[in-house]
C-alpha cells in the first residue's frame, strides 16, 4: 500500500521518504531496496521503540525533516489519488504552517470533520459529530512547513487531536480538497474496497495496465511475472502479485494475491486477501473478508469463511465461521 504513496511522492520531486514504523519485517526491507533503485530516491526507516502516537514520530525524525523545505506526512492506511502538486502550490500560496487534505464523505459522523472558510483556512475540527456540521473530513495527508517541528514534543501525542486544534485556533492550517477517490484501508474489508477504487481509477488513467481477455472480468491487475493457468475466471477487481502462480480452473473475485502465492487448480476465492508466499490447495473455497498472513498454507478441499489467519499457519480443517486463527 505504502508504495503507491512513495511512487506518487517521487513523481512530484520528493527526494527522500521517511517511513515511521514500529516493526520492520524482512519483506518490507526487500521492497525498500528495489523501490529505491527503481525511483532513484532515498528511503529511510525511522523506528519507534515505544508508541509515539501520530505526532511523536514526526518529532523523532526531526533531523531528517528540518531542511528548510516543506514536507508531506501521510497516513499509510489511506488509499487515494494524491494531489501532491496541488497541495504544494496551495501551501506556497497561503503561507500557513500546514495544509490538510480533506475529502467529502457520505457519513461524516464516523470521522473527524474539518470546518474551513472560503479561502480554505481551517476554523475548527469536530471529532465524530453526532449532528451534521459538515461533510469534509481529514483525509490523512498533510504538508507542513518545518516550523511545525517546534510545536511537537517527543512523546505519545496525537497530531489530529492535540496539535491541529491549537494550530487552527491560531489560523495556521488550511484545507485543500481531494477530488478523486479516497478510502481508509486500515481494515481488510476497507482494503478490498480501496483496491476496487484504485483499480477503477487505474483503468481510467492507465488502461493498458488492466488485463483483458476471455478469462478476465472487469478490472484485474496481473504482475507480468505471475503465471495464470487455463480455464480460469479472474475478476472483477483482482490483483495478482509478483511471482504468483494461479493454476488451471481457478476463480478469483475481489481478491488480492500478494507476491509469491500459489493457488492450485479449481479453487474459488472471493473478497479476501491472500498474504505473501501462501499456498492454497485444490478445490479450496475462501471467502468473506478472509485474510491470510504470510506463508499460510491451506490444504486441498478446505472451506474458509471469514477467517483471519496469522502467518506460517497450516489450515487443515474447514473454518466454516469467521474466526481468528492464531
Amino acid at each position: 500500500m505504502v508504495f503507491h504513496q512513495i511512487e506518487a511522492l517521487a513523481a512530484v520531486g520528493v527526494n527522500e521518504v521517511v517511513l515511521a514504523v514500529s516493526y520492520q519485517p524482512q519483506t518490507m526491507q526487500d521492497f525498500l531496496e528495489s523501490e529505491q533503485q527503481k525511483l532513484g530516491i532515498k528511503i529511510t526507516c525511522s523506528r519507534e521503540t515505544e508508541p509515539l502516537g501520530t505526532a511523536g514520530p514526526i518529532k523523532l525524525a526531526e533531523s531528517l525533516l528540518n531542511d528548510g523545505e516543506p514536507f508531506f506526512v501521510l497516513n499509510s492506511d489511506i488509499i487515494c489519488d494524491y494531489p501532491f502538486q496541488k497541495m504544494l502550490d496551495f501551501h506556497r500560496k497561503h503561507g500557513g504552517m500546514g495544509t490538510i487534505l480533506v475529502t467529502q464523505v457520505e457519513e461524516p459522523s464516523k470521522y473527524g470533520v474539518v470546518l474551513f472558510d472560503k479561502t480554505g483556512k481551517i476554523e475548527r475540527f469536530v471529532e465524530k459529530p453526532p449532528k451534521f456540521v459538515g461533510n469534509r473530513i481529514n483525509a490523512g495527508a498533510y504538508l507542513f512547513s518545518p516550523s511545525i517541528l517546534q510545536k511537537l514534543v517527543l512523546r505519545a501525542t496525537s497530531i489530529e487531536k492535540e496539535v491541529f486544534p491549537e494550530l487552527a485556533a491560531e489560523g495556521l492550517l488550511y484545507a485543500v480538497e481531494l477530488d478523486s477517490f479516497w478510502a481508509d484501508i486500515g481494515q481488510p474489508k476497507d482494503y478490498l474496497t480501496g483496491m476496487c477504487l484504485y483499480l477503477s481509477n487505474l483503468r481510467n488513467k492507465d488502461p493498458k495496465s488492466i488485463q483483458y481477455g476471455p478469462d478476465f472480468i472487469g478490472n484485474v491487475l496481473v504482475d507480468p511475472s505471475a503465471k495464470i493457468g487455463q480455464n480460469c475466471r479472474l475478476g472483477p477487481d483482482c490483483v495478482i502479485g509478483r511471482d504468483c502462480v494461479v493454476e488451471d480452473g481457478v476463480r478469483l473475485i475481489r481478491t488480492t494475491l500478494l507476491p509469491g502465492t500459489r493457488v492450485k487448480s479449481h479453487s474459488w476465492i472471493s473478497d479476501s486477501i491472500i498474504g505473501w508466499q501462501c499456498t492454497i490447495g485444490e478445490w479450496v473455497r475462501i471467502e468473506n473478508n478472509t485474510v491470510l498472513g504470510e506463508d499460510v498454507s491451506v490444504s486441498d478441499e478446505i472451506y474458509v469463511n471469514g477467517a483471519s489467519v496469522l502467518p506460517h499457519k497450516n489450515v487443515t480443517t474447514d473454518i466454516p465461521d469467521p474466526t481468528i486463527l492464531m
Binding site: N231, D248, W268, W283, R285, E287, E301, Y303
Partner: protein, 430 residues
C-alpha cells in the same frame, strides 16, 4: 467367510423361499425428501437399488424357489424393476400388496398360503431397510444344523450403539436365544438383531394362532395394539419364544447398517463399496476402465483386455467408487472415495466428488465440489459451486434441484425442484 468359496450342493439344503418386508410410503417418511420421488427400497446403495442386494443374496441360495416382496406400496412402482431383476438373477419374484399394515408378523401370516405353496422347508425373512453382506447360505446351513423354528442373524456392535436395536442374549455354547429386548433403555447386550431371519413353517402357524386368539403372547403391548390387528415379529413372536428352545442366533462379523434417514444411506453405501473393494473389486470403477468404452456402455470382465479406448486418459479415481457405464465423467474430474454415480449423470472437467451419492441424470458442472451429500435425480450443480455436509449432517438435494454458480451449500436439506441462488447453511429449504 466368503460364500462363493464354500461348495454348496442342493441336497444339503431344504427348499426355501424368501420374504422381503418392504413396508410402505407412510413408513418411509424419515427418508424424505429422497422418498418423495422413489420408494425407499429402490434407493441406490453402493450403486444398486437397496433391495437388489437382498434379492441377489437370496438368488445365491441353492434351492431357493421364490422371492416374495411384502408391503403396502403401490404395485406399479416395482413392476419393471422386479421383471428385470427376476430375469437377471433367474429367480421368480412377486410383489404382494397388503391392503393395510398388519405388522411384520401379521403380514406373513395373512399371506401364509402364498408363502407356503410348494412346501418350502424354511423361509428367509429379511427387513428391507438394512445394508448387509447377507451371508444367507451360512445362515441357512446353521439353521439346518441346529434345526430350530427360528434363526436370527446377529452381530456384536459398539456398546453405545446396541440400544438403538433389538438386543439379544444367547447361550454361549448352544447359541440359543435366551432373552430379547427391543430398543432397551438400559444396556442389555451388545449382540443385536440384524433383521434377517430363517423361520420354519411352524412359525407361520404360530402367528396364525396369535391372530385367531388361541395363542397369547402374554405381553401388555400386544394387547394395546390388538384392535389394529398389528402383530410384530420382534415384540410379539421373538420375545415370547426366547428361552424356549425355539430360536437360535447366528452371529456374523460382516458389515451391517440400518437405513433410516438419508445420512444412514450415505454410510450404508460406503459400507457396500468397502465390501466390494475387499470381496468383489470387479464391481467398482477403476481408473483404467476406459472412458470411451464406458460411454459405449461396455463393461469389462475381469482379466479381459479392453479393446477400445485404451488411449483415453485415465479417470482420476480415489478409493472405492462406482460409476454407471452410461455416466459421462471428464477425465480431470476427481472422484472418490465413497462415491456412486448413477445412470445418465454428467460430470464436467475439474469437478471434485467425495463421500456422495449422485442419482440419475444429475449434471455437475466445471470445478464444482461435492462432499458428504446426496444429489437428487436431475439436479444441476453449477460451476464452482460447493455442496458439502458432514457425516452426521449431510446435504441432501431432492429431485430437480438447481444451484447457481459459485455458491456454497452446507448441511442443508433441499426439497425437490428448488432453485438455490444464494449460499445457505443449516437450512431446510422448502
Amino acid at each position: 467367510m466368503s460364500e462363493e468359496k464354500t461348495q454348496n450342493t442342493v441336497s444339503e439344503f431344504p427348499k426355501t423361499k424368501a420374504v422381503i418386508l418392504v413396508g410402505g410410503a407412510s413408513k418411509g417418511t424419515r427418508f424424505r425428501p429422497l422418498s418423495l420421488d422413489l420408494p425407499k427400497p429402490l434407493f441406490p446403495l453402493g450403486g444398486k437399488p437397496m433391495i437388489e442386494h437382498h434379492i441377489e443374496a437370496c438368488a445365491r441360495v441353492p434351492g431357493l424357489m421364490e422371492i416374495i416382496l411384502l408391503g403396502f406400496y403401490e404395485e406399479s412402482l416395482f413392476t419393471s424393476f422386479l421383471e428385470l431383476t427376476s430375469e437377471r438373477f433367474g429367480v421368480p419374484i412377486r410383489y404382494l400388496r397388503e391392503a393395510k399394515s398388519l405388522g411384520t408378523a401379521g403380514g406373513l401370516s395373512r399371506y401364509s398360503n402364498a408363502i407356503l405353496s410348494g412346501n418350502p422347508g424354511a423361509i428367509f425373512v429379511l427387513h428391507c431397510d438394512i445394508g448387509c453382506s447377507f451371508p444367507l447360505v451360512n445362515l441357512l446351513r446353521f439353521h439346518v444344523q441346529k434345526s430350530p423354528e427360528f434363526t436370527i442373524l446377529g452381530k456384536v456392535v459398539e456398546p453405545g450403539e446396541a440400544r438403538k436395536y433389538g438386543c439379544m442374549v444367547k447361550d454361549p455354547n448352544t447359541c440359543e436365544l435366551l432373552h430379547y429386548a427391543e430398543k432397551p433403555s438400559s444396556v442389555v447386550s451388545e449382540l443385536i438383531n440384524c433383521g434377517v431371519y430363517v423361520i420354519s413353517p411352524w412359525i407361520l402357524d404360530y402367528i396364525g394362532q396369535i391372530r385367531n386368539g388361541s395363542q397369547s403372547p402374554n405381553r401388555v403391548s400386544f394387547y394395546m395394539n390388538r384392535e389394529n390387528d398389528i402383530i410384530r415379529l420382534e415384540q410379539d413372536v421373538i420375545m415370547p419364544l426366547a428361552g424356549k428352545g425355539k430360536i437360535y442366533v447366528y452371529e456374523m462379523d460382516d458389515f451391517w447398517a440400518q437405513v433410516k434417514e438419508p445420512k444412514t444411506a450415505l454410510r450404508c453405501s460406503e459400507l457396500y463399496l468397502a465390501y466390494y473393494k475387499e470381496h468383489k473389486p470387479e464391481l467398482l470403477t477403476t481408473p483404467t476402465t476406459s472412458l470411451r468404452a464406458r460411454m459405449d456402455g461396455l463393461l469389462f470382465m475381469r482379466n479381459q483386455k479392453p479393446t477400445v479406448g485404451l488411449q483415453e486418459t485415465r479417470l482420476n479415481i480415489v478409493g472405492a467408487v462406482y460409476i454407471h457405464p452410461s455416466a459421462k465423467v471428464e477425465s480431470n474430474a476427481k472422484i472418490g472415495p465413497n462415491v456412486t454415480i448413477a445412470a445418465g449423470v454428467e460430470i464436467a472437467a475439474g469437478a471434485r466428488l467425495k463421500d456422495c451419492i449422485i442419482l440419475e441424470d444429475v449434471n455437475i458442472k466445471e470445478h464444482a465440489f461435492i462432499s458428504h451429500s446426496i444429489i437428487g435425480w436431475g439436479s444441476i450443480v453449477d460451476a464452482w459451486t460447493r455442496v458439502q455436509g458432514t457425516a452426521e449432517n449431510p446435504t441432501i438435494f431432492g429431485a430437480g434441484v438447481v444451484t447457481e454458480a459459485e455458491i456454497v451449500v452446507r448441511n442443508c436439506t433441499v426439497l425437490p425442484h428448488k432453485t438455490l441462488n444464494e449460499s445457505c447453511h443449516q437450512q431446510i429449504i422448502l
